[in-house]
Amino acid sequence: MFSKELLNDLAKNNMRQDMGRAKNAIQEYLIRKLVVPKVYLDANWSGTQVDVLAIDRAGVGDVHAVQIVRTKPHLVRRPNSDSWLVQSDSDKAIDRLLEELKSTAVLFGHYRYAAFLEPGSQSMEYRLSSSLLPGTLAEDGVGRIGILFVDLQEDQAAVNPVLKPERFRSSKEIVELADKYVAEHTVNWEIRDEPASVS
C-alpha cells in the first residue's frame, strides 16, 4: 500500500509536469503565431506571475500574456452537433478568471489569454457560450481575452485556440516595461545570432 503522503506527492508532481508541458506547448504555439518573439516562462510581469509571456518581434512588439487555468472548463455538448459549448459552471470559476484577467492593471498585456488543460481537445470543436462572451471583452470593447485549450493526452502536446484574442489598449508604460523586461531578464526562447561570424 502507498502512503497518503506519497500519493499526494505523486499527484503534485504529475500536476507540476502537466503544467510544464502545457507551458512548452503554449510557447510553441506563440512561436508559430508571432514574428520571432522572445518568450519567458513563469514571468514576474508587472507584479503578476504570468505562466507564459511572449514579446513579439524580437522583443520590440506587442506583449502576449497567458495564464494557465488549474480548473477544468465546464463543457456541454451542443444539440445535434459534434461540437461543445464552454459554459459557466455553478462556481462561476471561469467568470471570475475572465474578470481577473480584464481587471488586472492595464500593464498586463496587449493580448491576454486563459489556457485550460483539456484532454482530447485537439480533434474537437469548441465554442464559448454566448453568456460568457461578453465577459471576455474589455469594458470599452478594446480588447478581448483569448481562450486556449491545451491537450496533453496525445503523444505531442498541442494547443487548440477556442476564442481568438483581440488587442487591448497600449500605453507608454507598457512599452517601457517591455523594454526594461527584455533588457533585464533571461529569455527562455528566442532566435539567437551566432557569436562571431556568420556561417
Binding site: V35, V36, A58, V60, G61, I191, E194, V198
Partner: protein, 133 residues
C-alpha cells in the same frame, strides 16, 4: 507616403515568415523560398524607410549592398543582418531553379538565416525609428 510603403512591405514580409514556419516541417522548397522572400521584403521595408525610392528589382543581388549603403549613411554599425541577407540571396536561384538535389542542411540554414535576419531587421527598424515600422 513612405510609411505606408514600409507597412506594406512589412506586412508582406511577416506573411512570408508565417508561411515559412507553417511549411518548414513538410515542404522544404516552398518553405525555403518563402524565407528568402520574407528577407527580401524586410530589406525593402528597411530601404524604403531609410530613403530609397526604388526597391525589389529583379536584381536582388544588389539589394544587400544597397541596404548596407543606406545603413552606412545613417552611421548604423550593426550590419550583421546584411550578411544574413547576402547568404539568403545567394541561395535563391539554387532553391528555385537548380537541377541538382538540395541537402537538408541547406534548407535548415535558410530557415536559420531567415530567423536571424528577421530578428535583426525588427530591432533595426525600431532602433532607427523608421516611420511605419
Amino acid at each position: 507616403m513612405a510609411a505606408v510603403q514600409v507597412q506594406h512591405y512589412l506586412s508582406r514580409a511577416r506573411d512570408f515568415l508565417e508561411g515559412m514556419n507553417f511549411l518548414k516541417d513538410d515542404l522544404a522548397f516552398s518553405s525555403a523560398l518563402l524565407g528568402i522572400h520574407c528577407a527580401i521584403s524586410y530589406c525593402d521595408a528597411l530601404r524604403i524607410g531609410l530613403g530609397s525610392t526604388k526597391v525589389s528589382s529583379d536584381d536582388h543581388g544588389s539589394a544587400a549592398e544597397n541596404l548596407r549603403r543606406c545603413l552606412d549613411d545613417r552611421k548604423f554599425e550593426n550590419l550583421r543582418g546584411v550578411e544574413h541577407l547576402r547568404k539568403l540571396l545567394s541561395k535563391k536561384s539554387r532553391i528555385a531553379y537548380a537541377p541538382d538535389a538540395v541537402r537538408k542542411y541547406d534548407f535548415e540554414q535558410i530557415v536559420n538565416h531567415t530567423g536571424r535576419f528577421v530578428v535583426w531587421a525588427e530591432e533595426t527598424g525600431k532602433k532607427l525609428r523608421i516611420e511605419g515600422w
